[in-house]
């Protein structure tokens, strides 16, 4: 362990310089007083402040020159400590078990027990348990999480040695640093990976299973087959076109073929445009020029609340008697149901009959009907 930077890069008088975690009391003391600490970890050099101190978090903001709205992660010593600050779902628990401690930051729903400015604007919080004994020991002694981020200013070089930091920050930034723990040159590991588990809270648990009144079922053996099922379904209901809105509420796991189904629907409706996945943009709209009809292709996968469907103008789609295909419809089932009188709602479930191993990977069990 050596001090790897030249003297002139340390301009501030008050800055404490340590070359180990030995004087743990001094480090804790600095954190408790709202100080900003530069520390080594298994990834890169980090900058840390007390997670319960709002003023300290603001200081970290000034140091990092972060893009606005970007949340921080906190560092905990154990899952037990983490669970005081976030709610862990199944996905999160699995990741803790598989990857922590280690260079992974797990984002969960926050319990709002940290200082303002740490959690994201949607109330989520990232947690990291470092695979670095000295740091874990410090966290245990400190008794609560620290806000930790890589010590470089945003978009600057990743800091593997102290000079990587000091050569790239302004004097103003340097003056914000209260204590530096210099462990020399760190091995070149990547910064921690962020895993967001918050979209895996199954909305379907709130909505309940959708039970169909009449059971229509068919085995599709290919993508073309699935498109043909869409065509047949359309022919069954197209007499309502222009009279009432027609909703195809699509249910099925990732890769089941919901977009493939919609492609078939679009084709048979006479849409020539290329139909692609709406996951990213939430909604794609296709119009049939000669008839003036349109197909709205919506993805509800990211919708946390049913009423978010309305933010996309769902009710006006219904009013305009549009044709709507909604992927992940079970997530917004209660909002769709509200239009039971005004619209024809056809629930379509696409399943992977995966239990029968060795079968054609393209086989799908497609069932449809009106809800009971």
């Amino acid at each position: 362990m050596s001090i790897s930077t030249s003297k002139e890069t340390f301009p501030t008088k008050k800055m404490i310089l340590l070359n180990s975690f030995k004087n743990i009391k001094q480090i804790i003391d600095t954190l408790q007083k709202g100080g900003l600490v530069i520390f080594p970890c298994e990834t890169v050099y980090g900058a840390a402040v007390d997670s319960s101190n709002e003023v300290a978090v603001k200081k970290l903001n000034r140091y990092k020159e972060r893009p606005f709205g970007k949340p921080y992660a906190i560092m905990c010593s154990s899952q037990k400590m983490a669970e005081k600050y976030v709610r862990l779902n199944e996905t999160a628990k699995n990741i803790y078990k598989t990857f922590l401690p280690g260079p992974v930051t797990v984002v969960s729903v926050g319990l709002h027990k940290v200082a303002p400015g740490i959690e994201s604007e949607t109330g989520t919080l990232g947690i990291r348990i470092p695979d670095y004994k000295l740091m874990l020991n410090l966290l245990k002694k400190f008794g609560r999480p620290i806000v930790a981020t890589s010590a470089n200013a945003s978009y600057r070089k990743r800091p593997y040695k102290i000079s990587d930091i000091f050569d790239n920050i302004s004097n103003k930034q340097k003056e914000l640093i209260d204590l530096v723990i210099d462990a020399g040159k760190l091995p070149k590991n990547e910064p921690s990976t962020v895993i967001d588990t918050t979209l895996d809270d199954l909305a379907i648990l709130r909505q309940g299973e959708i039970k169909l009144k009449d059971k229509n079922e068919v085995l599709s053996r290919s993508e073309e087959n699935t498109q043909n099922v869409a065509k047949e379904l359309w022919q069954k209901y197209d007499s309502y076109k222009g009279k009432r809105a027609i909703i195809f509420a699509l249910e099925g796991e990732m890769g089941a073929g919901k977009t493939i189904f919609t492609k078939g629907l679009a084709k048979t409706m006479g849409i020539t445009e290329l139909v692609t996945s709406p996951t990213y943009s939430l909604e794609n709209r296709y119009s049939i020029l000669d008839t003036g009809h349109s197909l709205a292709h919506i993805d509800a996968w990211r919708m946390e609340k049913s009423d978010e469907l309305n933010a996309l103008g769902f009710s006006s789609l219904i009013k305009n008697r549009s044709v709507v295909a909604i992927e992940w419809a079970e997530r917004v089932a209660d909002e769709i149901r509200k239009f039971d009188d005004e619209a024809i709602i056809i629930w379509v479930k696409i399943k992977n009959p995966s239990t029968s191993s060795g079968r054609n990977a393209n086989e799908r069990l497609i069932s449809w009907g009106i809800e009971k």
């Binding site: 606005f68 990741i95 984002v107 949607t122 967001d196 990213y280 709209r285 933010a311």
Partner: protein, 342 residues
């Protein structure tokens, strides 16, 4: 000549001031809960959040660049599509309002053209050095598209995705592996520690690259089956599965590119400009560079990852060329165009 640009196509509220291709400021208010992601919109936030932030972000872009709307800015540019309609609307009406209030020229920009020309930002690749025709590739969460660049402002689509975008496919694979969503960036990290040979996934449209499409639906199905059969997942399995998926997803892109380069009767292609969030993936960059070397094509990436994700600086770069061509729009006629193509 200085341009103020605005982009609200996704969930970042972005504004920038550019002078030519030089970036004077590039302000992004990110809603991302994760540090690295390919994006997508959170519906609960989209419009309201953009509305709340747009003034602040525009103000910040101006103050950071020490420019004043009244005296220094020559034109205002805004993304009109593709993107989520309600989100785009916020940027478009702000740009319109400012253009009318300050009597500035207004320029409508296609977000995809922004990604295509992002390598030119900050003179990383000087405009004068680009020879035509060249190729442009956008690999992001919302788009995967390959175009022929006849000259700046004139593009022809050579191949595009028929289902998922590359970034989206990577995000979804990560989700299948229990790595949350969006997890494309996580998948990349996991891949580095994995063995690509442990599993065999099918390369999409293998041998049929002449169809000139990108498609991930079949690969996604195969992946979901494979993941099911490998449960319970261990750390090693996750790493190997991630590596296999990424390997095949990229192999597909490269194979289609190779087909286009060798068979599309292009006269010698000079440059390949690559933009979009997935450009941050080191392995993809490596493979693209390798392909470039093989065919004597210079592969150009944006100078910083701040230019790969959604941002307004790239919109400013496009607007600069449009300004030179005097392609302005009437503020009373500008409208968003969510389904805009390249």
């Amino acid at each position: 000549m200085k341009i103020l640009s605005i982009d609200t196509s996704c969930d970042e509220t972005a504004a920038a001031v550019t002078e030519g291709t030089k970036i004077l400021s590039n302000t992004i208010w990110s809603q991302a809960s994760a540090h690295a992601k390919f994006g997508g919109v959170m519906p609960s936030l989209a419009r309201r959040m953009h509305e709340e932030r747009i003034d602040f972000v525009v103000e910040k872009a101006l103050s950071t660049s020490h420019q004043s709307l009244v005296t220094n800015i020559d034109a205002i540019a805004v993304t009109v599509g593709p993107g989520l309609s309600i989100a785009l609307g916020v940027g478009v009406s702000k740009a319109k309002e400012l253009a009318i209030k300050y009597k500035k020229k207004l320029i409508a920009v296609n977000h995809l053209e922004g990604h295509i020309l992002s390598p030119l930002a900050n003179n990383e690749y000087p405009v004068s050095s680009i020879k035509y025709p060249s190729l442009g590739l956008v690999v992001s969460g919302g788009n995967t598209i390959l175009v022929k660049i006849n000259k700046i402002g004139s593009y022809e689509t050579l191949a595009q995705t028929t289902d998922d975008a590359l970034g989206e496919a990577l995000d979804k694979a990560a989700r299948m592996l229990g790595l949350g969503y969006p997890g494309g960036a996580v998948l990349e990290k996991m891949s580095r520690l994995g063995d690509v040979k442990k599993y065999k996934l099918p390369i999409p449209i293998l041998g049929q690259e002449s169809r000139r499409i990108f498609t991930y639906s079949g690969l996604k199905t195969a992946m979901s089956r494979l993941v099911e059969s490998e449960k319970p997942l261990t750390k090693e399995k996750i790493q190997n599965l991630a590596a296999s998926f990424q390997d095949v997803a990229f192999a597909h892109i490269i194979r289609v590119l190779r087909f286009v380069v060798t068979n599309h009767q292009l006269p010698i292609t000079n440059h390949l400009l690559v933009g979009g969030g997935v450009v941050a993936n080191v392995e993809l960059r490596k493979r693209l560079r390798k392909l470039g070397k093989e065919f004597g094509i210079s592969v150009c990436f944006p100078y910083s990852n701040k230019l790969t994700g959604d941002n307004a600086a790239m919109i400013g770069v496009v607007a600069y060329f449009k300004f030179q061509r005097k392609e302005f729009v009437d503020p009373s006629k500008i409208d968003r165009n969510p389904n805009l193509k390249a």
